[in-house]
Point group: C2
Amino acid sequence: MVKLIALYKHPEDKEAFNEHYFNTHAPITAKIPGLRKMEVTKILGSPMGGEGEYYLMCEMYYDSHKALQAAMRTDEGKASGKDVMSFAGDIITLMIGEEIEE
Amino acid sequence: MVKLIALYKHPEDKEAFNEHYFNTHAPITAKIPGLRKMEVTKILGSPMGGEGEYYLMCEMYYDSHKALQAAMRTDEGKASGKDVMSFAGDIITLMIGEEIEE
């Protein structure tokens, strides 16, 4: 599968971030056509100690590159992208990843 | 579930990295007791274009924090940690993450 990975650095105001993320952003994103699975991970820190650079990761799975590209062009995909940039544009890293089958 | 996330920046020598990663490191890691699932993702770049900072991600799933901590203390866990530091210590970011159930 192919996934869009969103990696968020620690927000300045975690309470406001969580409020918007879980009550507004995640529900918008969950509606994107073609989305097969969405896995949200709270980053707890480094195994060597310390909280590290990142706060949250969201992985959005699609059947293929074509499906991911098409999803990003839908109204729901655009709404999700616009929303995320409005509250987390300065702390987000977006990556496209391809699962390696072994 | 709880997962150990290994995020690798682009290695200088991708061929040597891949050779070691897939033929030596991944098989050592796959033997760690308690490991439930291992998902390796090739990062293709940013959806906005550009190859981005990261090259590869590996997610190692465990039943709980306790299971992850115990796994890292086994001989196999230590061997995997030692091996990764030998070829990728300068490009790896390790994070412990907890899946958020929605």
